[in-house]
Symmetry: C2
Subunit: 521 residues, 2 copies
């Protein structure tokens, strides 16, 4: 297909990255904290109330009308949020409309994509969409990895996405914000309505910086829509539709703890590690995801708090029934929530002022005056691969296919102690590699790898190693763990790639940390 990119240069972690992608100049990764931006934030056009209805009623007849009034044309950047996850009914409609209007060459800039969006492959094929800048999972990832996308994908973390918007790296022409509740002025939230998803924080930057902002809702309430997680003062048009999302696919009704004995062991080892090293204390803070192992770790953490009669100051979440229970039973002061994963999370955010909605701006933006990520005591994250220098991969699998987005993963590496509890192998493929397929996170930021057969501590964390001197925990080196896995599964085969670049991976500061190539067919 002949994707366009510039000369390849070696960045500071030894990865070849292009100087230019999709016609846009890139800056190669220079090392953690080394690139300091100059210049000013992106500045949207000044609006005037003269051009908006005095009665606050910005309703137009349809999404199509709103897109036309927003000036939809070839080559534009269209953004959406992913709070509806696999239950999103709006993103696909946007591109149906674009296709119907004969628009071509759009950049889709979602905060993440989900299986439901594989519907868009036909528009990636026919040139309605040039490329996706955002996570490409499952079928979309496979499509991209096979070199079938016209443009080159750009993967950014949640914080990196906000940074790119704020800094003007990505200029959004039209942001479409699907909302479970909204008023005709454009104030919107995610806590009420049949498509309730909790919050709309991933769309915050879009609302602030996009040239045109469209709010689409199936639950139109009289002004004012409270809370206004999205402020109508940023919104150009509002649209009422029958249904914005499939509730049962937006949230899993309940979040379930892992039953796998290996994963339970990993969770137990992780919490014991945190207990023995004193990472958990009265007033500590942590971030853990909603995956089965993470949930288990959260439950262990909670037991440690109970046992000591301690209280956490805050949990950064991905909320679900477990942190909510802790909040309601008084074992944590606040949940600072970036996305809700189940109905309990949504209910709690709606009812409890101490369950606070956050955004990539507050939590993750590396080009702010600080952010929350680095304040957190302990962060639990996943990985698809880790190498002997603690570098980690979250976007490709060991078969080379792009399978996941970065999410908040890179941003969370700023936490005080970063732990990756991961199985030593998946489908008999060892996770600890000589060299990660894609380098998403530099090893200097990753402190601990916990597997079912042992715990490896980054030698940079002398303090943790000292605290474990008399520990009964199975402390090993990454090399030992790697050997152990390879004794069981054999040495993994090298993946064959073609030269062609199908995506780049950005670091939290907007520089390019790695390149993803087409998988050899």
């Amino acid at each position: 297909m002949g994707k366009k990119y510039g000369k390849m240069i070696m960045n500071s972690v030894g990865r070849l990255v292009p100087e230019e992608v999709n016609g846009e100049k890139q800056i190669a990764f220079q090392g953690v904290g080394k690139y300091i931006p100059e210049g000013r934030k992106y500045s949207p056009y000044i609006s005037s109330c003269v051009n908006f209805p005095a009665d606050g009623n910005k309703l137009v007849g349809s999404l199509k009308e709103a897109l036309i009034k927003s000036g939809l044309k070839d080559g534009m950047t269209i953004s959406t949020h992913h709070h509806f996850r696999d239950g999103d009914l709006i993103a696909n409609q946007i591109f149906d409309i674009a296709h119907e209007l004969g628009i071509r060459n759009l950049r889709w800039f979602p905060s993440a994509s989900f299986p439901c969006h594989s519907y868009l492959i036909k528009y990636l094929q026919d040139g309605t969409i040039n490329r996706i800048e955002g996570s490409m999972n499952g079928a979309l990832g496979k499509f991209a990895s096979e070199g079938k996308m016209h443009g080159i994908g750009v993967l950014r973390s949640h914080g990196g996405r906000y940074q790119a918007i704020q800094d003007g790296e990505v200029q959004i022409d039209i942001a479409v914000i699907a909302a479970p509740s909204a008023d005709a002025f454009g104030n919107a939230n995610g806590v009420n309505g049949s498509a309730a998803c909790g919050l709309l924080g991933f769309a915050l930057g879009d609302s602030q910086y996009a040239n045109k902002v469209i709010v689409v809702t199936d639950n139109l309430v009289p002004f004012p829509c409270i809370p206004w997680q999205i402020q109508g003062n940023y919104v150009d048009f509002t649209v009422k539709v029958d249904k914005v999302g499939e509730p049962e696919k937006i949230v899993s009704g309940t979040t379930t703890v892992t039953k796998s004995p290996d994963r339970l062991l990993i969770a137990e080892l992780t919490s014991k590690f945190c207990e023995q090293t004193g990472i958990i204390y009265n007033g500590f803070s942590y971030q853990a995801g909603a995956g089965g192992t993470s949930l288990s770790i959260g439950i262990y953490f909670d037991e440690i708090l109970k046992k000591n009669n301690w209280k956490a100051r805050f949990i950064r979440a991905g909320s679900n029934q477990f942190p909510v229970k802790m909040l309601e039973e008084g074992r944590v002061d606040y949940i600072l929530d970036g996305q809700t994963f189940d109905y309990e999370g949504i209910r709690s955010m709606r009812e409890n002022p101490n369950h606070v909605d956050t955004s990539p701006f507050t939590s993750y933006n590396f080009h702010g005056k600080g952010n929350f990520a680095s304040i957190i005591d302990v962060v639990i994250l996943g990985a698809t691969e880790v190498d002997l220098d603690f570098n980690a991969n979250v976007v490709t699998h060991s078969d080379g296919y792009l399978m996941h987005g970065i999410g908040g993963w890179q941003n969370c590496l700023a936490g005080k102690t970063v732990i990756l509890p991961i199985p030593l192998f998946r489908d008999r493929i060892p996770i600890i590699r000589e060299r990660v397929t894609t380098l998403c996170g530099p090893g200097e930021l990753i402190d601990v790898i916990v597997t079912e057969r042992g715990i490896a501590v980054n030698p940079l964390r002398r303090d943790l190693i000292d605290k474990l001197k008399d520990s009964n925990l199975p402390i090993k080196t990454l090399a030992e763990l790697k050997d152990e896995a390879e004794r069981i599964c054999g040495k993994p085969q090298a993946i064959e790639f073609e030269d062609e670049i199908i995506a780049i991976v950005k670091w939290v500061d907007g520089t390019v940390i790695d390149t993803i190539r087409k998988v050899k067919s």
Copy 2:
């Protein structure tokens, strides 16, 4: 003193305004809704987390240290908010420090000033402060009116202040945000702490756009400070002091309804007018201040709601015990609050999620994608003078002295029906004039003048006049009311001004609507 201003030109309401003020080009008022801005919003520098402490602790030893670290130097613009009203203990300290450091020629850009700030006259005299851009009341107003300020004052409405910041008309070098509660990261609110003032909305624009932002608090809480009305991600430094404000001067303990028979009559006539014209209905909205007459009108409105078993959708406030009572008793869905005037207002904002803090961005910014002001059904405002074309003055008295700020007054003129309930004379000086001393609001936006001796309806509001055909209310023309007042008090003498301009008055779109001249001594 030789203030510098450019050539005078006539604007669309017949007022001579300077083309340039304090070395900055000005645009003359062109008529309501006529000036449409081009260009982009002001863009602050991009920050990086590299330059902020990873643990989120931005505390420095003192306000002086914070100001020095913020690069305080000659000619800078320093902003403060007025949520502490006459109990503010921080603004004066800033200029004490500036004076001590030998800094000169500062522009003070408060959201309003109060009697306590007359302390700063010495710094206006010695050149530490060049000028105030913001309200100048009492002693400061007199000082300015006597031509004693070095620079020329610029008066802006609350919304105009946000617009000026957003559009880059005023570039704030250092914003100092005094906060009743804050954490070391800079998250701050006004609902907790001994200096609780309710909210901090007037400082929102300052936090978003100032180059350096300092949060000063006497109530430092562990991260996170919830709610974060001001977001720490915008904050450079935090400072802990012993006391940020005098609680008893921040709020009046209780807000009291007028006892004056004339004012009670005005309030009664106003509410009857609203009832008879159908302005009050089930689901209506209104904005009324916390002055004695306004409070009375609010109480009358409440009685009309009760009588009809109606509910207001929202009250825009200036909150106090009366709207709070309505909220708690279920006669209004929401209070959208710009500033709290008593302890009940603060308590309600702290406790009740339906008592929502707003900002000049949401409520008043004319260069947004709409704002709340124009959505409101009926707005009750004051005035120092009105002329026969319904033009009104709120900043100068009939003696020519600058005595008040504009506040949200100009912004509220966007409301669907704007009523000025005012006494026909004050201190035996008639309020209805041939020509207002200073034109702050064009008559086309002012619908009704209610006095104790009659009600005048703007002829543009044919709809209202029609509804009053069979009314028993004392409907008169403004000319009749003016004659009546002059029969009682005599015709007021013309004020003598010198040529020298001491301040300009901006319209909500940043254009210059009038000029204030030095009072002849």
